[in-house]
C-alpha cells in the first residue's frame, strides 16, 4: 500500500535519512522503532512531503507521491497524528474534529462524529471545550479522533504514548488494537518499543537514518539486539 524505495532526506546539508526502503501493506500495523534522533519522525514527515525526499521514490496506493504537495497527499487517504499531538488549542473539540473532516463528505459528518465519540467518550463530554484546556491524554484522543474524521485508508501515529500516564497509554494502545480489528492500516512510530512491537505485524528498527533490522513484531520482540537496545535487556 505504501512503499519507500531508497529514500533520502536532507535538512539543508545534513542528511537525515540515508536510503530508506520499507513497505506497509493493507491491513497491517507496522511499527518503526529507534532511539531519539534516529529519524523516525523525519521518515513519517517525508512521506507527507514535508520535508521533501531529496532522492528515491515514495508510492501510495500505486501512485508516485514523491513530488506531490503535502495537502494533496493528505487528501489522498493518509491521516497523521503528529508528534506532540498539535491539536488546535484555541478551537473547541468539535471544531478540531470538523477540521479533520474538512474535505470529507458533509452528509457523512454526523455519523463519523458519532463513531469518534463512541471510540472516545471523553470527547463527547467535552465537545464544546477549548482543546488547549484539556489534559495531555485527552488531547491525544482528540488528535487521533481528528485524524479518523477524514476516513483515512492509512493512519500514521507518531509517538502516541509520549508524555502520557501509563493508564492512558494502555487506553491508547487498546484503541489502536481496535482500529486494526476494523481493518485500518497503521504505521506506528514509537520509542515505547515493547508495546509497539507487541501490537505490530511487522517492525523496522531505525538507527542513524538507516533501517538496520526488519522482521515480524514477534521476532523483533525476542531479538537479542533489539532487547538490549530498546527493551532494557
Amino acid at each position: 500500500m505504501l512503499t519507500l524505495e531508497n529514500v533520502y532526506t536532507h535538512y539543508g546539508k545534513i542528511e537525515a535519512l540515508h536510503g530508506i526502503s520499507l513497505e506497509v501493506n493493507q491491513g497491517e500495523i507496522v511499527s518503526l522503532i529507534g532511539a531519539n534522533g534516529a529519524g523516525k519522525t523525519t521518515l513519517l514527515m517525508t512521506v507527507c512531503g514535508d520535508p521533501r525526499a531529496s532522492d528515491g521514490r515514495i508510492t501510495f496506493m500505486g501512485k508516485d507521491i514523491t513530488e506531490t504537495p503535502t495537502s494533496e497527499i493528505m487528501r489522498s487517504g493518509i491521516a497523521i497524528v503528529p508528534e506532540g499531538r498539535r491539536v488546535f488549542s484555541g478551537l473547541t473539540v468539535v471544531e478540531n474534529l470538523q477540521m479533520g473532516a474538512f474535505f470529507s463528505d458533509k452528509s457523512d459528518f454526523a455519523r463519523t462524529l458519532e463513531y469518534v465519540y463512541d471510540l472516545f467518550p471523553r470527547l463527547r463530554e467535552r465537545h464544546s471545550q477549548r482543546a488547549g484546556t484539556m489534559s495531555g491524554g485527552e488531547q491525544q484522543m482528540l488528535a487521533i479522533g481528528r485524524a479518523l474524521m477524514s476516513h483515512p485508508k492509512m493512519l500514521f501515529l507518531d509517538e502516541p504514548s509520549l508524555g502520557l500516564a501509563p493508564i492512558i497509554i494502555n487506553q491508547i494502545f487498546e484503541i489502536i488494537g481496535k482500529l486494526r480489528e476494523e481493518g485500518m492500516t497503521i504505521f506506528l512510530v514509537e520509542q515505547n518499543a515493547n508495546q509497539a512491537l507487541r501490537l505490530a505485524d511487522r517492525g523496522y528498527v531505525l538507527e542513524n537514518g538507516k533501517v538496520v533490522l526488519q522482521d515480524t513484531g514477534a521476532n523483533l520482540l525476542v531479538n537479542e539486539d533489539v532487547r538490549k537496545a530498546y527493551l532494557g535487556g
Binding site: 503535502t70 494533496e72 503528529p82 498539535r86 488546535f88 488549542s89 484555541g90 470538523q98 477540521m99 495531555g136
Partner: protein, 308 residues
C-alpha cells in the same frame, strides 16, 4: 456646563467615526499577522486605492446622471472592495508568497518596496495633486441651544457607524461560524498541522489578504466620502495609525483591532480638541511606544503559552 458636555460628546462622535475606520483597516494588519506573522506594510496603499476607486465610481455615475444616493454608495463601495481585494490578492501572490519560508525580514522589506511602488504607481496614473470631490451626503442632526455650542451628528457619520458595524458583524460571523473561517483560525494557530489535514494553506493565506483588503476598501470609501479628498500618499499615515490600533488592541486579535481602532480614534480627537491638533499624531504614536514598553501583547492579545 451643558456646553462643556456637548463639546465632549462632539469629540466622542468624531473620535468614534475616525476610530471605526482605523479599526476596519487594522483588521487587515491583524489577520495577516495572525496567520503568517508578518506586517503587511503595503496595506495602507490598498486602503488608498480603495478611496480612489470609490471616487472614480462616484464621478462615473455622476457623468451617467445617476442621482439615487443608495445606489451610488453601493456601487462605489462594491467596486472599491472588488479592486482593492484584487490588489490584496496580487500583492500576496507577487511580493510575499515567493519569499515565504525564508528569513522574516525579507518579506518585510518586500512589503515596504510594494508600498512605495503602489504610491508611485497611483501618483503616475492619477497625478500628485489632491483630488477633491464634493460631498454626496450632507446634513445631519444638531443638539444643543440655538445660541450656544451645538453638537452635531452628520448623516455621513451615521453611515460610517452603520457600515462599520455591519462589516464587523459579517466578519465575526464568518470567522466564528463558517467552514473557511474555522480554517483561518486553524491555520493561524498551526499552519503546518492544517497543511497535514489536507488544507491548502496558501489559499487560506490568500483569502485573509483578500478579506483584509476588502475591509480596507470599505474604510477607504467611507473616509473618502467623509473627507472628500484623496492623494496617492494618504495610505501611509492611515496605515501607520491602523497598525498602531492593531498593536494597541493586541496584534493577531480581531476584537483587539476593533477596540484598538476606537480607542485610538477617540484619543486623537480628544487630543485635538483639548490640547492641540498638531499634537494628535504625537499622542497616538506615544501611545504605541507606551503599549510596546509596558504591555507588548496589547489590550486583548494573549501571551503565547503552550500547554504540553
Amino acid at each position: 456646563m451643558l456646553e462643556v458636555i456637548l463639546y465632549f460628546i462632539q469629540q466622542l462622535i468624531n473620535g468614534i467615526t475616525i476610530g471605526s475606520t482605523y479599526a476596519l483597516i487594522a483588521i487587515g494588519y491583524t489577520m495577516v499577522y495572525g496567520i503568517i506573522g508578518m506586517i503587511n506594510f503595503a496595506h495602507g496603499e490598498v486602503y488608498m486605492i480603495g478611496t480612489y476607486v470609490a471616487f472614480m465610481a462616484i464621478s462615473g455615475m455622476a457623468m451617467l446622471g445617476i442621482e439615487f444616493l443608495p445606489l451610488i454608495f453601493l456601487v462605489a463601495l462594491l467596486s472599491s472592495m472588488l479592486v482593492s481585494s484584487s490588489f490584496g490578492w496580487a500583492i500576496e501572490r507577487i511580493a510575499y508568497r515567493p519569499l515565504r519560508g525564508g528569513n522574516r525580514l525579507i518579506p518585510l522589506i518586500s512589503a515596504i518596496g510594494m508600498s512605495i511602488f503602489l504610491q508611485n504607481y497611483v501618483r503616475l496614473g492619477q497625478g500628485s495633486r489632491d483630488i477633491a470631490m464634493s460631498s454626496q451626503i450632507s446634513g445631519g442632526w444638531s443638539f444643543g441651544p440655538e445660541d450656544g455650542f451645538q453638537a452635531s451628528l452628520s448623516y455621513i457619520q451615521v453611515l460610517i457607524f452603520i457600515v462599520t458595524i455591519i462589516s464587523m458583524t459579517v466578519l465575526t460571523l464568518f470567522i466564528s461560524r463558517s467552514r473557511m473561517g474555522r480554517a483561518c483560525r486553524a491555520v493561524a494557530q498551526d499552519l503546518k498541522m492544517a497543511n497535514l489535514l489536507g488544507i491548502d494553506t496558501n489559499r487560506v493565506i490568500a483569502s485573509t489578504f483578500v478579506i483584509g483588503a476588502a475591509l480596507a476598501a470599505v474604510a477607504g470609501t467611507l473616509l473618502g466620502m467623509y473627507y472628500g479628498v484623496v492623494n496617492a500618499f494618504v495610505g501611509f499615515i492611515a496605515g501607520l495609525k491602523a497598525f498602531t490600533a492593531a498593536v494597541l488592541g493586541g496584534i493577531g486579535s480581531i476584537p483587539g483591532a476593533m477596540l484598538g481602532g476606537i480607542i485610538l480614534g477617540v484619543t486623537e480627537s480628544m487630543t485635538a480638541a483639548y490640547f492641540s491638533t498638531e499634537y494628535k499624531d504625537v499622542v497616538s504614536f506615544a501611545l504605541l511606544v507606551l503599549i510596546l514598553l509596558f504591555k507588548p501583547t496589547g489590550i486583548l492579545g494573549k501571551p503565547e503559552v503552550e500547554k504540553i
